[in-house]
Each structure stands twice: as structure tokens, then as C-alpha cells.
């Protein structure tokens, strides 16, 4: 295994081709091996990767603890729903709506960021939590006096994404092969995910990325370096929110239905768990975290079937079990791998370099003497 990996590392072009082929074939492999419902899970994996990459900008890069991130996802989703459903009788094409979803979510990011500029840590977390609830409650109640969001019933019959005259909600006949709808969405989501990933990677190494890192480490020192901390913070909120807005729009078109229920606080925590579990601030870690925390709960559903088969009835509801295992997994992680499954370069260094400190303290004192 190790030698195979090394061989691939020596031939990046081959590795890239293999990875690309795997990503293209993935829905067919999953569909054939596990059934079509798992392709749907795969689609959600991609949506959560988009969300996690967005939240990673705010929390991982800039160090601003945001517990209300799903509010921006909700805004993106509702923008899509309102502009492409019978609710208002509007049916704009997806390429026109997604930029609006992203822009509006980004604007709300700035709206949340502005009053919280002076807050950090726990206080910021509380305000973002409140912001999430405000958005959710608005969505739940804005059906009167003017029916904007259709309240708790939500909005349905949302238009699917249509590309080249083909609605992705219907299977596509291609060279005699029938490609189901979930597969088609997979490719669209994959394209957006790769795009967002590229942006996230570029951002990390950019001047702005360095400014975020400094802000995360020490705000006063960052300002003393000449970083405009206000703008840099607002940009983190806005960019994170923009990614969430995109994910929200894609979610609405994929589901064909949105309601406030889809955007509970639990979702915000889940996305935060994804980046903490995977490795905050590190893109491969974030992707792994998102994939694991989307797939594992689905896999746990089989525990119900297993109990029915072996014990005759369900003793432990897998839905309850899910939360329990989740909690245990996170506690274990925090004890044994506090920097995440795939920690970033910086965090890894931090954890391995610590032993040397006392020694250096000694050494530098000797130097001063000499």
C-alpha cells in the first residue's frame, strides 16, 4: 500500500488521472455496490463539504467562532426557492439565481459581522447562535401579514437545475445508458465543490489568508502589522456566508422543497463538528470530516435492520444511538487527536514542537551570558 502511494506520488499526473476517473465513476460504483439511495448520500456529502469549506474560512482561517453558519445556508436556499417555484410564480434559471443566493448570503454575512466586530470567542459564539435563531424564526413566521416564506409549511415544487434544456430531476439517456437524477446532481455538485475548493486553497495562501492567520493568533498585533482588522473580519464572514449561500441554493434545487426545519441549530453544530473532527483550517481534513459525519449517520441506520434481524425487534433506535456515538467519538477525538484527523501543518508542528521549549529557554540564557 505504502509503495503504491509512493509510486503515485512520483507520478502526479497519473495520480491526478486516477483520482479524476474515480470521482467520475464514484456514483456508478456506489450505486451498483450500495444502491441508489447511497448516491443521494453522496450528493449530501458534497453539499456538506461546500458548507464545511465555507465555515472553515470563518472559524479555521480567521478564528471567529460562528455557531450560526446554517443561517446563511437557509438564506441561500430560500432565495432559490422564492425565485424558482410557483410560490411567487417566478422561474428564473439556476445560473441567474445562484449568484443572487450567494450575494444575499454574503450581505447577511456582513450584516452579522458588523455589530460583532469587537466580539471574540464565547461572546461571538453567543451572538451568532442568536443570529441563527433569528433567521430561522423569521423563516417560520414570515407568512403573515405578507406571505414571504410560507411559514412552517415551507416552499415546495422548487424547480430543478436545468442544463441544456434537461431538468436534472429526470434521468438522462446518454449513449444508451440511463443516468438517474441523483447521479446528475452529483456531477453538478462535484463541479461546484472543486471550484470552491480551488478558491479556498488560493485564499489560504493569499495575502488575505495570511492576514486571517494573524488575526486568529493576536488581534492587536495583527492591527500593528498594518492589517485592517475590520475589513479582514468582514471579508471572512462574507466569504464563508457566500459559500453557504451557494450550498443552500443547490440544496433547494436538489430537494425541491425547503422549510425552516431543515435549518435547525443542530445543522450548525454538525458543520462545526465536521471541521473540528477533520482538522480545522486544513482543507483535506475538512473534506474528510464532512464526508465522515455525513456517511456515518447513514450507515448507522443499518443497525436498526441488524437488530431486527438478530433480536426480532429494535431495542435501541439507531437515531438515538447516532447522537450517542457522535458524542463519544468527539470526546475521544478531543482527547487523542485534538488537532483533528488530518491536522494542518501548523497545528501538527505545534503539537510536536512543544517538548523543545524548556531546553531552548536554557540555551538562550547561556547565550545571553556568553
Amino acid at each position: 500500500m505504502r509503495t503504491a502511494l509512493d509510486a503515485l506520488r512520483a507520478r502526479p499526473r497519473l495520480a491526478f488521472a486516477l483520482l479524476a476517473a474515480l470521482l467520475v465513476a464514484l456514483p456508478f460504483l456506489v450505486g451498483a455496490g450500495l444502491g441508489n439511495s447511497w448516491v443521494r448520500v453522496l450528493d449530501f456529502v458534497l453539499l456538506y463539504i461546500l458548507l464545511a469549506l465555507g465555515l472553515n474560512i470563518v472559524v479555521g482561517y480567521a478564528g471567529l467562532l460562528d455557531l450560526g453558519f446554517i443561517a446563511f445556508y437557509a438564506i441561500g436556499a430560500y432565495v432559490y426557492a422564492l425565485l424558482a417555484s410557483p410560490h411567487f410564480g417566478l422561474h428564473l434559471p439556476f445560473w441567474a439565481i445562484l449568484p443572487i443566493s450567494m450575494a444575499l448570503a454574503g450581505l447577511f454575512g456582513v450584516l452579522l459581522g458588523t455589530p460583532t466586530l469587537r466580539l471574540r470567542g464565547d461572546y461571538l459564539a453567543i451572538v451568532t447562535l442568536g443570529f441563527h435563531e433569528i433567521i430561522r424564526i423569521f423563516l417560520n413566521n414570515l407568512n403573515a401579514p405578507y406571505n414571504l416564506t410560507n411559514g412552517p409549511q415551507g416552499i415546495n415544487l422548487i424547480d430543478p437545475i436545468t442544463i441544456g434544456g434537461h431538468a436534472l430531476s429526470r434521468p438522462l439517456e446518454l449513449f444508451g445508458v440511463t443516468v438517474p437524477s441523483t447521479y446528475l446532481y452529483y456531477y453538478v455538485f462535484l463541479a461546484f465543490t472543486l471550484l470552491v475548493m480551488a478558491v479556498a486553497i488560493r485564499l489560504q495562501d493569499s495575502r488575505l489568508g495570511r492576514a486571517w492567520a494573524a488575526l486568529r493568533e493576536d488581534e492587536v498585533a495583527a492591527a500593528a502589522m498594518g492589517i485592517n482588522t475590520r475589513n479582514v473580519k468582514l471579508l471572512a464572514f462574507a466569504m464563508g456566508a457566500t459559500f453557504a449561500g451557494l450550498a443552500g441554493g443547490l440544496f433547494a434545487s436538489f430537494q425541491g422543497f425547503v422549510s425552516p426545519e431543515s435549518f435547525s441549530l443542530w445543522e450548525s453544530f454538525l458543520v462545526l463538528c465536521m471541521i473540528v473532527l477533520g482538522g480545522m483550517g486544513h482543507i483535506p481534513g475538512v473534506i474528510l470530516g464532512a464526508a465522515l459525519l455525513t456517511v456515518i449517520p447513514e450507515a448507522l441506520r443499518y443497525l436498526g435492520d441488524l437488530q431486527r434481524a438478530t433480536l426480532g425487534h429494535v431495542v435501541l433506535d439507531p437515531a438515538d444511538l447516532r447522537m450517542l456515538l457522535f458524542g463519544i467519538a468527539l470526546v475521544i477525538m478531543m482527547i487523542y487527536r485534538p488537532a483533528g484527523l488530518i491536522p494542518s501543518r501548523q497545528r501538527k508542528r505545534e503539537l510536536t514542537a512543544r517538548d523543545g521549549v524548556a531546553e531552548q529557554e536554557q540555551a538562550s540564557l547561556y547565550d545571553a551570558k556568553a
Binding site: 495570511r210 486568529r216 495583527a222 492591527a223 500593528a224 497545528r347 512543544r354 531552548q360 538562550s364
Partner: protein
Amino acid sequence: MSLLRVRGLKVAYGGIHAVRGIDFEVGSGELVCLIGANGAGKSSALKGIMGLVRAQGDVHFGDASLRRLPTDAIVARGMALVPEGRGIFGRLTVAENLDMGAYCRRDREGIRADLARVYALFPRLHERRAQLGGTLSGGEQQMLAIARALMARPRLLLLDEPSMGLAPLMVAKIYETIAAIAAEGVTLLLVEQNAHLALKVSQRAYVMESGVITLHGPAAQLACDAQVRSAYLGE
């Protein structure tokens, strides 16, 4: 021609007046210190000048007023601060910390030259360049904070309590470096509780007490002043 001219600087936090209208000047190429006891308002004065806290009064830097300018604009005009408690970016490497110091600059050649210059000034930082800032010893962190501020190639360098929390030997080392930087022609404003050391390296000094400046003059003269000797030099 003074590089920095401060007139009637006031800093207040809520109802507490930390700085109650002070006047002072730093001439081009000078090393001036602002000494005083803990809580005299020295650090607040520096923060007020840098725009890190809201301040009243008039601050002139070069030939322009800094009134209402945000910190980043002040840094861009050539003022750099070594913050109290050093403010090292703990999870960035030494090299990355230094790189952040040059955040406002675009001249790659100049940045590279200055990097070589600070590594020559602090060879230990060169040895530790791949290490995380947070894993350095206190003295090394102070060196890094000074080196990082120098990376901005400032016209005026503000140092806030560089001796704080360091072993005496390390303090001596840091002060040697400060003298070396001054000898290179950098203008320095030094805030320090350790009056003895500060007066030794400075040309002029201001003594601050409860938010106002009570004494000022050539450092050598203040070091002999009976009042200063009894209040700050422990004699």
C-alpha cells in the same frame, strides 16, 4: 525637526482617564524613553498614538496629522509597534511572523534585504526560523517581536515594555540590541518601567505619573535627578 509631535493626547476607557493630556516629541534619529510606574498610562499613550484605542489630541508624524487615521494607515506611514506582551503569532513560524511584519510592503527586493538584516541582527531567529513562534522562549519571542516590527522598515519604532517578564541576562541582551538598532539610525520611542535601563540607552526621557508627564529632559540628567532616583531607581 521632530518626527513625532504629540500635543494634548488624552486616552480614556469609559470613565477612567488613563492619559490626561500629554505633550512630547521625538526627533528624527533620536532614542526617547517614556518611563513611569505600572499604570501611569505609558502603554495607553502608545496605543493612542497608534490608533489602537480611541484618543483625543493632536499627533503629528512627519509633516502630517494622524488624527482619525485607522491603525493600518498609520502603519503604512512608517510607524511600527512592538506590542506589550510581544504579540507573537504563536502558531505561525518565526519566518512567517517576520513575513507578517512586512505586510504593508510590496517591494520584494527590499523585504528580502531586510530579512537578511534582521537575521544578522538576531542570528538565533535564523536558527529557529522554521519553528513556531509560540514555542520560543520569552527572550526569543521579544527578539522576534522587535525583528518583526523592523520588517516594516519603520521610520519610527515604538517599543512597549521590551524588558517585561524576562530574565535579567536576557533583558541586557535585548537592550544591547535596542542600542544597536538606534545606532543604525532608526528613531525609537521606548516605553519602560525599568527606568534604570531605559535612561542608560536613551538620549532624552519623559517621566509619566498618573496620566501626565511630570518631568522631562536629557536622560543622563534625569538619571541624576533626586526625585527620579528615589521614585524609579530605588535609591
